[in-house]
Structure formats: C-alpha cells, structure tokens
Amino acid sequence: MNKLLIVIFVLFAMTCPPANAGPESSPGRIVSLAPSMTEVLYALGLGDNIVGVTTFCDHPEEAKKKPKIGGMSNPSLEAIVSSRPDLVVMTTDGNPREVEERLRSLKIRTYVFKARMLHELPGGIRELGAAVGARARADALARDVETGLARSGAQGAGKPKKKVLFIVWPEPLIVAGPGTAIHDAITLLGMENSAARAKTAYPRYSIEEIIREAPEVLYIGKGSGMDMIAVSQGILKKLAAVPAVRNGEVCYVGDGLYRLGPRVIKGIEELAECVH
C-alpha cells in the first residue's frame, strides 16, 4: 500500500510542472513582452515560434513584422490571449508584476527573466534556454557572452581608472546610473562611471555635478533613430569645461547596452574602442 502511494506521488510530482521550468520540447507559440527577450529568443533560433511582440521590439528586423500585443508596461491582455501562446516570456525590468499574476490566473504559462546585471546574463540565458527546450543553443550563446565579458574584463585590468559618463539623452540631461547594463560595462572595462552616486538607473543629472566630476570620456548613445550628433550639440557646449569635451574624447555609440540581450557584447566593444 505504501509503495503504491509512493509511486502515485512520484508520478504526480513528475507531471506537475513547477512554475518556472518547463518541458524539454520547444513551446510552439511564444509571446515576448520585452525587446531584450525578443532578441534572445531569436538568438536561440526560436524566431519562428514567436507569435506576439511589443511595439518596442525592433531587433532583429524580422521582429518588426510580428503581431504586436501592446507596450511593456501596458500589454493588452486580450491580444495576448488571442495569440493562444504556449508560453509568455517577460522580465522583471520593465514589465509590471501584475501582468505575471494576471497571466497565471488566466492559466497561461509564463516565464519571468530575472537577470538584471551584466554578469547575470549568461545564467539567465541558460535558464531561459532550459524553459524553452533550447539548452544547447542557450549554452552556446551564454558561452559567447561569457567569453566576451571575460575579454573585456581583461582589457580593462591594470589600467588607471578613467572617469567616463554615458549620456542617454542630452536635453533634459539623462545619464546612465547604477543598476544599468551600461554601468556594469563601464565597471567591467576598468573605468569609473561619473554618475555612480546617482540614486536611480536613468537619472536626470545636474550639469554642475558633471562639470565637477570632470569625466575624461563622454559616450553619447544613439538610439531611437534621431540624429544624436545634431541634437547633442547644445549639451556639449554646456559641458565645454569638461576634460572629455576639451580633449575631443566624445564618442557616439549604438544602443547595444540599452537592453540586456545578445547585443551587449557589441555594446561593450564599442565602449572599449572609443577609449583607445
């Protein structure tokens, strides 16, 4: 009798999937609630399985053609349900918690990507890979990221710490503070983020403070299709006293580090190139 109970219990436990893991096979239909997740899923070869993305998902090009289910903070529940997903992939950075609860109450399988720091990315990719049945490719991608991170870390070792600042938007002045992948990359490359003492991730920074911090290198991120070179002329004039501007050490870089996804390595390389 006891043996029977144990067998039944084991069978039961095996067939009840725990919340965040999943079956080994790929879920047929995936909805992504974050651009970074879309990029990772494509990198894992699951692009064809994606049946819904946010309006911000613009990498790779094919993602733009996928059906849209809304924004990151306010996705449309109806649109998600109508896509009949086998899995919804979301993050803790940008998607509200309520969405996860709501989806679960609608009996929709949801995976929450928890990695937020650069060094957590490979682990996060591996976990996601396990959940979507793409372990091998996830491992390969994770290893790529790890190699890239190690390489960049080695580059930065032993050098005197340069003070740098990453401008996300010139007017009003918004910079990359702690808690962002950008900040992690700067630290990894052995440099010092002049905005490290900020309290939030993308603070509106005081120009005075920056002049006092005197960063030696200024990065200006090119995102959102604007002509950043033109738009940033104003702020560069205001920061004329800063060493970076005086010595012409101003670099325009891409938006690789804006999302914790496969393109972070490229983003880090861009940062490194400028300094040499």
Partner: protein, 321 residues
Amino acid sequence: MRSLRYWMFGAVTAAIFCLALFAGPRTINPFEMNGMERDILFSIRLPRVVVALLMGMALGASGAVLQGVLRNPLADPYILGISSGASLAAALGLLSGFYFFGSVSVPLAAFIGATLVSLLVGVFGWKRGGLWPERLLLAGIGLNFLFSAVLMLLMSLSSDEGLRRAVLWMFGDLSMADWTLIPSASVFVVAGLGIALWRSRALNALILGDEFAHSLGFAVQRERLLMFAAMALMTSASVSLGGTIGFIGLLMPHIVRFLLGADSRVLIPASAVAGGAFLCLADLVGRSLMPPLELPSGTVTALIGAPYFLYLLRRKDVLSI
C-alpha cells in the same frame, strides 16, 4: 415627455454596455463563441466592463452629490484633492515596490490615500460644529496643491519604469482589471450610493441654501456630513479600482440635469448610470482605437469630455451656470 427620456436614457446605456462587452478591438459574437473567446469574455472583458461601470457610477454620483453640497456647478470629486492624495499614495506604493498584500497592495494604498485626504478636507473644512462649503472648497484646493507638489517631487526622484507606471496609474488603467477588487469595491460604491439616495431630498433642500434647508426641517450640518461621507466612500472605491479618471464627476450631472431635470432623486442615480456608460464607452474607445496599444481611459474621458464641455458652455442653455 419625461418618461420617454427616461426610456431613451436607459436604452442608450444598455446598448453601450453590450457594445463594451462584445465589440472592440476584436468583435465577439455572443452566439458563436469558441473556448478562447469565452475565456476572453468572462476573464478579461466582463471584469473590465464591471470595473468601468462601478467606477463610472461612483464618479457620476459623487459629482452630482458634490455639486449639490458645495452649491457649485464646477465641483468634481477631484477638486477636493482626493485624486492627488490617492495618486500620491498609489505612486508611493508603486515606486517603493510595496507588495505586502499582493496585487491588492496599490489599490489598497490608493483607497487609504483617498480616505485620508477626505478626512483631512473635512477637518480643515470644519468650523463651529459643521462643514461649510466654502471652507471645504478652499481646504480641498489647498490640499490638492500640496499633494500634487509632493507627488511631482516623488516622480522627479524616481526611476523611468516607476515613473511610467505611476503616470499610467494616474491616467486610469483598466487593462489589468480582474474580479479580485470588485466585491469590496462594490460594497463601498453601493453603500455610498445608498446613503446619497436615502438623503437625496435633503440634498435638494441644501441646494436651496442652508437657511431654506433648515426651514424645511433638515439638520443641515448632519446632512452635509452624510453626503460628504457618501461621496468620499464612492470616490475612494473608484480610485482604488482604476486610478484617477477625470471629467465624469464634472460632466455627467450637467448632462443629466439638462435631459432629466435637477431633482436629486433622479439626478443622483441617473448621473451614476450615465457615468458608468460613459466610462464603458471611453474604455471601449481606448482599447479599440490603435490596437494592441491601449489608451488609458482617463485620457479618453478627458479628450471626449473636455471639448464637449466647452461646447456645452457655448450653448448657454445646457450648463446650469
């Protein structure tokens, strides 16, 4: 003539209710639903429409009550600072990641914020044994400025994501509406509505002025207090359900007065019904205009309400001003 208007009124609101359930952004045919559509209808659309109804009813009735209590046709539940108090509390909850009560945390915070502000307004509006309309109004405006300023301070210090969520909350977010909050919110809305209807004759008398109300045999301060409490209950429940959605409290009583007259016994329930229908409609438009993007219902009510309100001002005969 009046009974024809009542029938038309009822028919229009019923039609809107059905539209909201079955139309946009994707039409659901109630007679030929598959499993997924049934799911959508009952788990997503129905709670959403019920929330919109509850909120709209609460706000419409609160507007009617407040315009009578303050004897001011421009009164709206938010003029007394209830919206900025609730927004501040909700923003604090959202930005601090307050999750102690699970998904009910932020609504609970908003409810407490709204109730606290109502109490504060009552305290500042109190003098010599009663609430006075002018004092209430001034206290409310002062508190409104105060809480708005604190809220702006909070928002300028917060991260992007928190900011975005706080702003979306304030604009009125019905997208995550589910059945959890509906029972408790209904209790408050029904209680407030009940009190308001029970004392609607007193409200009629109050509108004539304190002296006439007293002359007709009403305990003026007690009636005012009751009405104020009813309004606070309903408004607090409303903001906890779906944020601060404006214009309904201001606009609905004027429209109803024009169509059905000023008697509070009709004005209060009809403003409630009109408010419910209007918000259902606004929500329907908000989620159907640019799918899958959902415009916050608060923006839609303001975008429809404000121009219509200005048009009414020009017509001279509609607004009781």
